[in-house]
């Protein structure tokens, strides 16, 4: 540097690289895809090939007929997700991918809990908890109740903790869907 005949243009030492790092947090990927056969297989295949585990996955229609929305959560502490995001971008049926910032995103999940009930007292208790969580009782028999709860993953997991002692027969969860806050499109 600085020798005769050369200019000091930039210092190589100061150049920094963007490494493929584990982010250490959960990522919610919102993927807009063409509604065509095999799209989900192609996407799931990219994760499987790298040994990445998809935590939740939900697929549904959008406001446009030809497009579907896939919301997928993956643990960034376990896997470096930028590589797989770049690979997803290369899929021809994938139109758009967003790695949603938790603070700028509304996420919701729906869960159905089938809880064992032995007497009226227990039923009343489960109903009380359901009310606190703003859930809904959608089916009742003498020996069971089905409760529908909507909310963030944390809320659903909290509800699960509360009803598990009664005897949780089954639980079904949809996986999160997510939408960005504010007027802009996700």
């Amino acid at each position: 540097m600085g020798e005769p005949g050369t200019k000091e243009l930039l210092s190589l030492e100061d150049l920094e690289a963007s490494a493929s790092l584990r982010s250490g947090r959960k990522h919610v990927l919102s993927i807009l895809v063409e509604n065509k056969p095999g799209v989900l297989t192609r996407i799931a295949g990219l994760f499987a090939r790298r040994g990445f585990n998809i935590d939740t996955l939900s697929v549904g229609p959008t406001d446009e007929d030809q497009l579907s929305r896939i919301t997928l959560t993956v643990d960034g502490a376990m896997h470096p997700i930028d590589q797989v995001t770049k690979q997803l971008h290369k899929l021809i049926n994938v139109l758009k991918i967003r790695d949603l910032e938790p603070s700028e995103t509304v996420t919701r999940e729906l869960a159905l809990f089938k809880v064992a009930i032995n007497d009226g007292h227990q039923r009343a208790e489960v109903m009380q908890v359901t009310e606190i969580f703003r859930g809904k009782v959608v089916d009742v028999t003498k020996r069971s109740m089905i409760v529908e709860v909507t909310g963030t993953r944390d809320k659903i997991e909290a509800f699960e903790q509360m009803v598990r002692p009664f005897g949780l027969i089954e639980m079904m969860r949809t996986g999160e869907i997510a939408i960005s806050r504010g007027r802009g499109e996700t």
Binding site: M1, E3, G5, T6, K7, E8, L9, L10, S11, L12, L15, E16, A17, S18, A19, S20, V33, E34, P37, G38, T41, R42, G45, R49, D82, Q83, K86, Q87, H89, K90, L91, I92, N93, V94, L95
Partner: protein, 556 residues
């Protein structure tokens, strides 16, 4: 119009004059259309051969090639070629027949889930569900195969749909909203790269297969800046060899100069290269002093294995043209690289590629490659199979133009060489096409000699015959205590008689003094020729970076 006739129209509209394929039950409608379509169809003797022939054609010409097979085994036989094309970014459109729609998913005769089997190995694929889609899909297939980072695509057509009549109108525009490859590099990044090159004291250009289309610009940049250049196995020919700025190939069997230069470099400019493990050796000790400019059309390659300091996504040809201009504008003095060059020259003088010549008549395999190089004036298109002969060809045949060297670099497919050579010869009829192979590899697709003989395709095949699966034997010698397990090829055929049986011309040479004359005679013989060259049995490819070792710790 019959849908299959529309396929022919599409192929013609895409400028296809030759295809490689094999008929069967599910693609018979398509073959009926070939009967008088005026497109040259080369009937290979195995679908895998057809796939590799298409790759050879595409690699030699730079054009999109086409390979066809029927459903089931026809498609599964194509799979190796599809994966091979994916690994080496070769633009091939694979068109497969499929059972009729009502049989799909029922285990019908010759049914295989072609879409499912090939999905992880294609750039994209389409299953036809409505015959009216065929023209649009085919043009999309060519567009996807050709543009961006090239690659294989599959179009799977159920036989009942291919028999239908459709209205055909030429498709002039392809619209794929989810596919828009970045072509122009970011101007700011290019400027930054120019400054980095100007500031570097120990720069190296590391060129891969993605630089074959940018050879002119790459050479201009290297010449103007006096930058040393090394190429990957697939990049050979993008910078003309031999040349005083040429370090040779890098990596596992690269030159010491190339690997040492990478090790000591302060700046590495990677162009269309993907930091393969055979290049880097132990990743954590690869080029430890260097900062990286990484030029690649595929954003997913950037920082995949090595974090890039100045990433530039786009077409290397366009980026390098701009980088040239930016670099020139900086008016730096190339004299700053004198120390670096004298260090490199030191390595080049001390460690040239070498081998021990024999005293007697025994032929060293390296000498055979040198003799082929001399006899072809360094001008032939050379294909190879996979193994020791491949490395010797890469080391001792010097490629001075892109698309002169055709091999299976990424997947390492034995059986690639002969069909690739016939594809290259069909694509470049004015060039001498030589296939360098081994006695192991050639037997993996030897049936294609019939294709050569049948079609008068004058491929000259040189078998470096050592009676071994040589590369495996070498590893067993070096890393498995000479326990030679299943590497002796005892039942080799008489390759001269084999040539005769196929209607090719056969030669055999086992004496050094006869080598040059035999090669000359083979090259002067019309039609396909097989030359059985008996070489030293236990010769090793050197130098070598042991698997998992750092590139600076080369042996041999």
């Amino acid at each position: 119009m019959r849908a299959v006739d529309a396929i022919m129209e599409c192929l013609k509209a895409e400028g296809v004059d030759t295809v490689f394929g094999y008929p069967g039950g599910a693609n018979m409608p398509t073959y009926d259309a070939f009967y008088d379509a005026g497109i040259r169809h080369i009937l290979v003797r195995h679908e895998q051969g057809g796939g590799h022939a298409a790759e050879g054609y595409a690699k030699a010409t730079g054009k999109v090639a086409v390979a066809l097979g029927t459903s089931g085994p026809g498609a599964t036989n194509l799979v190796t070629a599809i994966v091979d094309a994916m690994m080496d970014s070769v633009p091939v459109v694979f068109i497969t027949g499929q059972v009729k729609t009502e049989l799909l998913g029922t285990d019908g005769f010759q049914e295989a889930d072609t879409m499912g089997i090939t999905m992880p190995a294609v750039k994209h694929s389409w299953m036809i569900t409505d015959p009216r889609e065929i023209p649009r899909v085919l043009h999309e297939a060519f567009h996807v195969a050709r543009t961006g980072r090239p690659g294989p695509v599959v179009v799977d057509i159920p036989t009942d749909l291919s028999r239908m009549d459709i209205p055909y109108e030429p498709v002039n525009d392809v619209h794929l909203p989810g596919y828009q490859p970045t072509v122009e590099g970011n101007a700011k990044q290019i400027k930054q790269a120019a400054k980095a090159l100007a500031s570097a004291r120990r720069p190296v250009i590391y060129a891969g297969g993605g630089s074959l289309n940018a050879s002119e610009e790459l050479t201009a940049l290297a010449r103007f800046g006096r930058f040393p250049v090394t190429c990957t196995l697939n990049g050979l020919g993008s910078f003309p060899a031999p040349d005083e700025q040429w370090l040779g190939m890098l990596g596992m069997h690269g030159t010491r100069s190339a690997n040492y230069a990478m090790d000591e470099a302060d700046l590495i400019c990677a162009i269309g290269a993907r930091f393969d493990d055979r290049v880097t050796g132990k990743l954590s000790e690869f080029a430890p002093r260097a900062k990286f400019i990484h030029i690649d059309i595929d954003p997913a390659e950037i920082s995949k294995n090595i974090p890039a300091h100045i990433p530039i996504v786009g077409d290397a040809k366009k980026i390098l043209a701009k980088l040239n201009a930016e670099y020139r504008a900086l008016e730096v003095d190339a004299a700053r690289l004198e120390d670096w060059w004298s260090r490199i020259k030191g390595w080049q003088e001390k460690h040239p590629l070498r081998y021990d010549e024999t005293e007697g008549e025994e032929i060293k395999p390296q000498a055979a490659i040198e003799a082929i190089y001399a006899a072809t004036n360094g001008d032939a298109i050379v294909t190879s199979d996979v193994g020791q002969h491949q490395m010797w060809a890469a080391q001792f045949y010097h490629f001075n133009r892109p698309r002169q060297w055709i091999n299976s670099g990424g997947l390492g497919t034995m059986g690639f060489g002969l069909p690739a050579a016939l594809g290259a010869a069909v694509g470049c009829p004015d060039k001498t096409v030589v296939c360098v192979t081994g006695d192991g590899s050639i037997q993996m697709n030897a049936q294609e000699f019939a294709t050569c003989a049948d079609n008068g395709i004058p491929v000259k095949t040189f078998i470096l015959n050592n009676g071994y699966l040589g590369m495996v034997r070498q590893w067993q010698e070096l890393f498995w205590e000479r326990r030679y397990s299943e590497v002796t090829l005892g039942g080799n055929p008489d390759f001269v008689k084999l040539a005769d049986a196929y209607g090719c011309t056969g030669f055999r040479v086992s004496e050094k003094s006869q080598l040059a004359d035999t090669i000359k005679a083979a090259l002067e013989t019309e039609g396909p020729v097989i030359v059985d060259i008996r070489v030293t049995a236990e010769e090793n490819v050197y130098p070598m970076v042991a698997p998992g070792a750092a590139a600076r710790d080369m042996v041999g």
